[in-house]
């Protein structure tokens, strides 16, 4: 599936690109549905709050550079633990919603420190 990032080359290798992408979307949808069911106890069922949640989860995928699932999983757990652990610290408690963003920003800037010139491409 990582090869699906460059569709034409992959298609010329004989991989059924559309089927693979459809499978990816399907799996993603299933996992997101399961996550939603699990979250229903924890989060207010409000459209804006849930959208904000998705933006926070983007942070974990950014740390994984959209390439590695184990790293994304680890990052998500780290972010969740840090957010929860900040609750009892009264001075930082109100800022704990910032955790995903700060972690993602630091990780992104740290990980891309060697890339200087951006190559024009359709995706990443």
């Amino acid at each position: 599936m990582p090869a699906a990032s460059d569709r034409e080359i992959t298609a010329s290798l004989g991989v059924p690109v559309r089927r693979v992408t459809a499978a990816a979307w399907f799996g993603c949808g299933c996992l997101a549905g399961v996550a939603g069911v699990l979250l229903s106890d924890l989060v207010a069922l409000d459209a804006t709050a849930l959208t904000f949640l998705v933006i926070s989860t983007l942070a974990a995928t950014l740390v994984g550079r959209l390439r590695s699932i184990p790293i994304t999983f680890a990052a998500a757990i780290v972010i969740g633990v840090i957010t929860a652990e900040l609750t009892p610290i009264s001075s930082l408690s109100t800022y704990r919603d910032m955790t995903p963003f700060v972690v993602a920003a630091i990780a992104l800037l740290f990980l891309s420190r060697r890339r200087v010139i951006s190559v024009g491409r359709q995706g990443v």
Partner: protein, 372 residues
């Protein structure tokens, strides 16, 4: 007098052919302004003048406020259009920059007695510095990563602003006094305290910002940005300092958005964190893409879509959530069929419609048809 017709200044290839026609006039050729090239600026200036003078008298106060929001947010969409269209950098954080500008302006308005234009200038400058600081590390990123990191930073700024709250007349750095019962409104410029006057004030500030960006686009930065958008490696090879010009774009976009934030502070008069949400940044990008990121008229159309439609739907009793659906579908449509936005697509579509209708009429004309 001038029989060879009017020529533009850089049309030199035709000059050699017609030089004998002009005769013995050996005077140095002064660049002449072609009459046709003046029509567009004059029309735009006339429309703007009409809007400035007539809108407060035609529309009710509710719609005058809506037009004020259109004027203010056209500055914001101008900044974002500059980043997305001219330079090719997608920034999902302009809503947070706007909130930052509003915060700085509100703090200055409460703490000092500076005249309003100075407050706007300082708000713009401080926001420019902060925006450049944010843009500095993000320069290495492009495309998706840049969009996501600006979204992350916007989320962070939103959380911070929700925590420290907007100034409400208190003292200290944040200027927030949680215990006051009577919150003073943010003051407006002394010449424009009423809503119609504030509308004209906002329009004049918007015109100044548009002129500022216009001169940037026409000058060296605009050419550098066009080169960077085309291909960054080619621009580097041509000797353009891409880092500097990208930072300049960030700085300019942040400056105009900061000034717009100052106007928002004066327009709403009471600010809270609900005025600026993270979704606003995403909606801003959506309307900029729909209106047309590559032109300045597109910025005005984007602001109209964002703010006037909302006011219209509110007035008609329709839920403004329909707009979110409209913008979502609109972005999909724009990106797949009309990448240059409404401002380029609408005239083309109208022309096509005109040709279709003309074709129908031509087919109906019996003289043109062979006998059947």
């Amino acid at each position: 007098m001038e029989s060879a017709g009017v020529k533009t200044a850089d049309d030199t290839t035709a000059n050699e052919g017609t030089a004998p026609e002009v005769g013995s006039r050996q005077s140095p050729r002064r660049p002449r302004i072609e009459p046709r090239s003046l029509v567009r600026p004059v029309v735009i200036a006339a429309l703007v003048l009409l809007a400035l003078l007539l809108i407060p008298s035609i529309f009710s106060l509710y719609y005058v406020d809506a037009w004020t929001q259109v004027a203010i947010y056209s500055i914001v969409t101008l900044g974002l259009g500059l980043l997305v269209g001219r330079v090719g950098m997608v920034s999902l954080g302009q809503g947070a920059v706007l909130a930052l500008g509003a915060w700085v302006a509100a703090r200055l308005l409460f703490a000092t007695g500076l005249p309003y234009p100075l407050v706007l200038l300082f708000a713009g400058l401080i926001t420019m510095v902060l925006g450049t600081l944010v843009g500095l590390p993000a320069l290495r990123l492009s495309g998706l990563y840049l969009a996501l990191i600006t979204l992350m930073l916007a989320g962070a700024i939103t959380v911070v602003l929700t925590t420290i709250n907007f100034p409400n007349g208190g003292s200290g750095f944040t200027g927030y006094d949680g215990s006051t019962v009577h919150i003073p409104p943010i003051r407006r410029p002394s010449v424009a305290t009423t809503d119609p006057a504030f509308f004209r004030y906002s329009m004049i500030v918007a015109i100044v910002m548009f002129v500022l960006v216009f001169f940037h686009i026409r000058g060296r930065p605009g050419r550098a940005w066009a080169a960077i958008r085309q291909s960054e490696s080619a621009a580097l090879a041509a000797g353009i300092n891409t880092t500097f010009y990208k930072l300049w774009a960030f700085a300019l976009a942040s400056f105009v958005t900061g000034v717009a934030g100052g106007l928002v502070a004066g327009s709403f008069r009471y600010l809270n964190s609900l005025t600026f949400t993270t979704q606003d940044s995403i909606t801003l990008l959506a309307v900029v893409l729909m209106g047309g990121a590559y032109s300045m008229t597109g910025a005005v159309i984007a602001a109209f879509l964002l703010k006037f439609l909302q006011a219209l739907l509110n007035d008609w009793g329709v839920s403004p959530d329909w707009l979110t659906i409209l913008f979502g579908i609109g972005v999909l449509q724009v990106l797949t069929t009309a990448p240059r936005g409404i401002v380029e697509q609408f005239p083309k579509d109208m022309a096509r419609l005109g040709r279709l209708i003309a074709g129908l009429f031509r087919r109906r004309t019996p003289a043109a048809e062979p006998a059947e």
